[in-house]
Symmetry: C2
Subunit: 278 residues, 2 copies
């Protein structure tokens, strides 16, 4: 474990760490923001899962979340979006929506992906253990989960599958039904194989049927170019209604898919999680 | 003039424009944030000048300024840091501190730099005219100027030389005395020639002697790796005292030279300018 960056930020510290991951079998980076309140007592945390093409640093640099994490006294943990390194197989044409930077927060079962592409285990099991080893003042049993786009899918699906591990869930412009959109179909076919039955364990709209209810907030921009074909927010609204899962889904007029959208509403998401973390 | 990007952000719009610059003789990009208040009436503006290696987008993506610009009803204009394009000469070894990305906000007098490297004229004269042509609801006669590092030098020197054009000045980690630091000496020698007399027109510590007083705020991190050799904040403090120029210079404990530092204090800078713009 190596601390490769440290910056004072809103009175707290923005860290970046490097470590060898057992579940991904490669070297990984993740970022941690510790608010000033952590100087006095352990703080709760929000896991942030990023979208396609991102690593652990996009959210840290662009979302402006540290300001609100500092205000509420919450840490933010931002992992990478896929296994990394030369030994890790990538899309044969280097596509942005599959392979490196596109781990889809699942455990792959198909060769050659299954050796490294185990982001589900990494986020749910390994990362909390790694954080425990860091010896930072974190309340590891008091966590929320959030994310953007592919990371919104990750936050919803991981949160719904692990109601004992998270107090609340939120997502910005999530891929709500990977089984029913081109990005998800491409990735799930390769990582999980053609049998769609196996896909359902990672499809938020399907997971809603049996999920224990957690406080859940979703924001989606109406001018997001990916809304109609890839993100398909209406399917989440329908599923939440069908399975009587209470959820706040807000359409934000004029906002697109960029981090300008995330930055505009991150304060409200952190406030939402703070209500359930304290 | 072409609008190449537009994103809804904190209820306003983050634009990016492309145009042919007369003073720089090349195609340039600049970014403009228009706050929601601009829907009702023209708004004042802050020019933001970025530092070495940056273009017009670093501040826009990383500083989180739009939130506060929206709250106060102020536009933010972020130009690039040098002329750009294949026809523009660059440092022979592609150094980060000279040539492209390092225009130092002056008018070069030496070949081959003098044809394109006229960032002073671009910021002071051309950009306001270009903004007028844009037909956005801007109060162009009600402006402040701010910047970071090389852009902090730009904000201070341009502000001090143009008290009729700006209501207030602020800077983050500015190069306060380019005549007395390696970055400045390298750039000024090449752009302006060896005669140090000609350098004084762009050296903030020297400009303080005869400058009309404008409200001025400077923030500097104590853990900034460039503080001792390049930025030299104590020289500004000494000059301000020597020439009785009232100025708030704040040393911020533990902060470094990154945008995490800028983000941490941009709210206070925008609030400072708002006091003088309204």
């Amino acid at each position: 474990m190596e601390n490769v960056e440290k910056h004072r930020c809103f009175g707290g510290e923005q860290f970046r760490f490097k470590h060898q991951s057992a579940s991904l079998k490669c070297e990984m980076h993740f970022s941690v923001y510790m608010p000033p309140a952590a100087n006095n007592a352990p703080v709760p945390l929000i896991y942030w899962l990023s979208g396609l093409t991102c690593n652990d640093q996009n959210f840290v640099a662009k979302a402006g979340a540290q300001q609100f994490a500092a205000q509420h006294g919450i840490a933010i943990i931002a992992p990478d979006t896929s296994p990394r390194g030369e030994a890790v197989p990538d899309d044969s044409e280097g596509a942005f929506d599959f392979g490196l930077g596109a781990g889809f927060y699942l455990n792959a079962t198909q060769a050659p992906w299954s050796e490294h592409y185990n982001m589900y285990d990494y986020i749910v099991s390994e990362l909390p253990q790694v954080l425990r080893q860091l010896d930072l003042p974190l309340q590891l049993d008091c966590a929320a989960i959030s994310g953007h786009s592919m990371g919104g899918h990750g936050a919803l699906s991981i949160g719904l599958k692990n109601p004992d591990k998270f107090r609340s869930i939120s997502a910005f412009a999530p891929i709500v039904a990977p089984s029913q959109c081109p990005w998800g179909e491409k990735a799930f076919s390769a990582y999980l194989g053609k049998d769609r039955e196996t896909w359902s364990q990672y499809d938020s709209c399907l997971l809603l049927e049996k999920a224990r209810h957690l406080p859940t907030l979703v924001d989606q921009g109406t001018d997001d170019d990916f809304l109609d074909v890839q993100l398909r927010t209406p399917l989440l609204r329908d599923a939440a209604e069908q399975f009587s899962y209470p959820m706040s889904i807000r359409m934000q007029p004029g906002y697109d898919h960029s981090y300008f959208f995330v930055a505009s509403f991150i304060a409200e998401h952190i406030q939402f999680h703070a209500k359930h973390l304290f």
